[in-house]
Amino acid sequence: MAECDKYIMMISSLSDSELSPEQEAELCAHMESCSDCRRIYDAFKGISGAMSDDLVEPPESLSKSIMHRIEAQ
């Protein structure tokens, strides 16, 4: 696990597509042989998916009440 320390923050950046191609290639090569880091990557991606899939519709009254307040100013 100690050698994984240098990769753990890169895993977060990979899940955000914020790595350079060189960094991405290095990390992916490491994850090929490291199930611990692969699980962390899957966890970060799983949480990302859960958050982005969990959007709710705002109440219909929101836009009307904003515009009423603006018009009343």
Partner: protein
């Protein structure tokens, strides 16, 4: 709506056409409301935060120069309004909103595949667990993670929204995710289900 179309509407509002602001509200109300909801944790306060964000945006739109997307500027206002609200609430309850950095020295170990749901039931379980876990995440980490996950801002845009260096954005998002994983792993209502185990054993 393209960035150019959006800028044109912003200019109309800046020139005094208040009715043009409605299209900006309609375009961004879902992201602003969801950001507020996950920040403050309940629908009534989220509605107040979302309203306040748009009212403040309207009243200060003269200061928007188009250096970034309008949404980045708007989410910055929303985040600050929510953080101010949570600060005032935490003062009443004497709760810290910031994260103890040395908590991050511990290694992160994911013991099973609970974060990789396959069925809709498992996905719903993970969504509910993340919703619960977010309420326990310190507010500054909640904010940066929401800007990334709900509003889809890049690290550069988050840096502009929160006035942080790119390296700080990167490390804080990582720490927020790590802390959230730890919170979820200690959530007794969210565990590796028998359904998941059966799936793996087939």
């Amino acid at each position: 709506m393209t960035r150019e179309e959006e800028l044109e509407i912003v200019r109309q509002v800046q020139d005094g056409d208040s009715s043009a602001f409605e299209s900006l509200v309609l375009s961004h109300q879902s992201k602003v409301y969801n950001l507020s909801l996950r920040m403050v944790g309940n629908e009534d306060d989220a509605l107040d935060m979302a309203q306040e964000s748009f009212i403040r945006a309207y009243n200060s739109i003269g200061s928007f120069r188009g250096d970034c997307r309008f949404s980045v500027w708007l989410y910055r206002l929303t985040t600050n309004i929510c953080l101010d609200f949570l600060r005032s609430e935490s003062r009443k309850a004497h709760i810290s909103l910031t994260y103890a950095e040395d908590d991050c020295e511990r290694e992160l170990e994911i013991p099973d595949e609970r974060f990789s749901p396959q069925s809709e039931a498992e996905r719903a379980e993970l969504r509910a667990a993340v919703r619960r876990g977010m309420k326990h995440l310190p507010a500054d980490y909640r904010a940066i993670l929401l800007l990334r996950e709900i509003d889809g801002l890049s690290y550069d845009e988050i840096g502009k929204a929160l006035e942080l260096e790119a390296g700080t954005v990167k490390s804080r998002i990582f720490r927020a995710r790590k802390k959230l994983c730890e919170i979820l792993l200690s959530d007794r209502n969210f565990s590796y289900t028998s359904e998941s185990k059966e799936r793996k054993e087939v």
